[in-house]
Every structure is written in structure tokens, then in C-alpha cells.
Symmetry: C2
Subunit: 142 residues, 2 copies
DNA sequence: TTTTTTGCAAACCATTTGCAATTAG
DNA sequence: CTAATTGCAAATGGTTTGCAAAAAA
């Protein structure tokens, strides 16, 4: 499903995801694209995000009970989702050691996996005034 | 949010999930409950599943691009989702070693996590006639 | 009796889709 | 040109909700 045409809209969606460090939702991506191209429709953003994800140029991060988020980091990595402020943090390096080979030996063809931790982020855990956003960390804090 | 009343509907939903070994969707649970209690509404099934999940008497399994599934196994375990037949398999023992402590030391309060592998199950990988359902395995096959 | 839970239907929200108009190649 | 892509709006699909009636405690 490789793109046949490089439209302005596709380029803008890709660019917005790439500059973002906050795992934006589709709505947020739409808003940010509209800042530059006011007539872009939400449907087009959905279509282009799907296309980009299928080409592995962006990655989809699914979160329990919340709209999907998108990530410019396309290589396998895990996430932490704060159930209080809903920030999504990339966890690098991974806190997991997986035995993919064992699954393969058992006959599974593993294409991908998703590992997501849920709980409270350091900010929300410590802070008393709750509900902050965009801690802007790519790696876990000190 | 502990149940205040033991209704027939709550009992039936719990029982259906407990007898199921196929990680049924809400629709499927609804159908199975209706076999015994034809007037139970879908809304009631949703409400009772939420209640049971919040009490950790059943567990919710979220899957990419598919409706939620429910599991009678409530202790932490991982899943394999077949992208071909959409079967959901419990993976026991876990194919992952997680370093929860490292996250805690970094200030995160980890409440739960989800680890799901996606790909083709042994049946679909080998078989030529595709799209089978309910391999009925709790553990990975030989 | 009192309060929770139900059934029903409507509402909701995220996402997808049909189609005529636009645009990249 | 002409096929892929867009904008728009309507449709979908899963899930939630308001409310009067039913049923636990």
C-alpha cells in the first residue's frame, strides 16, 4: 500500500507527527496540520495516518480506554501511560527481555508486539496539584 | 465500586466469562447470556463487565483494531493475537522478564501492564484453508 | 420500603466511507 | 489526461447513558 502521490496533506501529517514529542492523538494532529493548512479534513488525516503507519513511517500507540496516539519513533519500544494525566512516555531502554525465539519455536509467526505499562508517572505521583500534561520526556526521568 | 446486589444478570455474565475459554467479545458474552436469559440487554452486559473488571473478577483484553475481549484469568499474563483468525491465546508461562523495579525506582507507580504479541498462530501459519476459529488453547501448542 | 439495577432507546465518540470535485504525476 | 486523493457529510461500530420500571436487600 505504498503511496502513489506525495500530497501536501500527506507531507504535513508526516511532518506534524515527526516534530511532536507528545504522542499526539488524531484530533491533535488534525489541529496542528490545520494551523498550516486550514482546509484539511479529519478524514484525510485519518487516511494519511493509516497510510504512513502501513508504510511504517509512523507508529500507532493504542491505549486502554483512550483514543489512539501516534509516534514518530518507529522501532520497537515500550510505553508508560499515566492514568492520571494521560501522558504517554517512551521507555528506552526497554524494561523487558522477551523470548521471541521460544514463540517462533512453538509455531507462532510474531509480527509485532505491544508492551504498555499503566500507572502514575513521577510527576503525578509526587505533585499535589494533579492533571498536568506533556512532561516531554523521551526517557524515564531521574 | 464493589457490587451491592447480586443480580441474576451479574451472575450470568460472570458465569459465561468463566466457562469461556475463547476470550469472548462483549457481543458474544451477550449472546451466550441471552441463551439462558433472553431479555438481558447489551447495556447490562457492558455494565456488569465493567463492574466485574473493576473488582478484578474478570479481566479486559484490549486488542488492536478489534473489539475488546474478556478473560476469566485475572492474574497477569500475556497474549498472542492471530491477525488472521483473530484467536486470542493466553501465553503461559510468560515469554517476558520485566524489570518493574527499575520503573519504580525511576518514580513510576506501575499499576498494570499489557503485553500482546501479534502475528499468525500455528494453525493459520501451517493450514492452507485459512480463517479458522477457536483453537481452544490456553497454552501455546506443540 | 429504599436504593440499586435493569431494559430500552437514544446519545456518544472515534473512526470509516461514498462520492463528486480536486490535484499530482 | 486520468487515477489517486481530497473535503465533506453521512454512516458505522463499539460503548455509554438517561430514565422510568423492575427487583434486591
Amino acid at each position: 500500500m505504498m503511496s502513489k502521490r506525495q500530497t501536501q496533506q500527506l507531507l504535513a501529517v508526516f511532518d506534524v507527527v515527526n516534530r511532536a514529542h507528545d504522542h499526539p492523538s488524531v484530533e491533535q494532529i488534525h489541529q496542528r496540520v490545520r494551523e498550516r493548512m486550514p482546509r484539511v479534513s479529519l478524514g484525510t488525516v485519518y487516511r494519511n495516518l493509516q497510510k504512513l503507519a502501513s508504510e511504517r513511517r509512523v507508529s500507532l500507540v493504542q491505549i486502554r480506554n483512550r483514543p489512539a496516539r501516534y509516534d514518530a519513533v518507529v522501532d520497537a519500544h515500550d510505553h508508560f501511560v499515566c492514568e492520571h494525566c494521560h501522558v504517554v512516555l517512551d521507555l528506552a531502554p526497554s524494561k523487558a527481555r522477551l523470548d521471541l525465539q521460544q514463540l517462533e519455536h512453538q509455531g507462532f509467526a510474531v509480527r509485532s508486539h505491544a508492551l504498555t505499562f499503566y500507572g502514575q508517572c513521577p510527576n503525578c505521583r509526587g505533585g499535589r496539584k494533579g492533571r498536568q500534561r506533556n512532561s516531554q520526556m523521551t526517557t524515564a526521568p531521574a
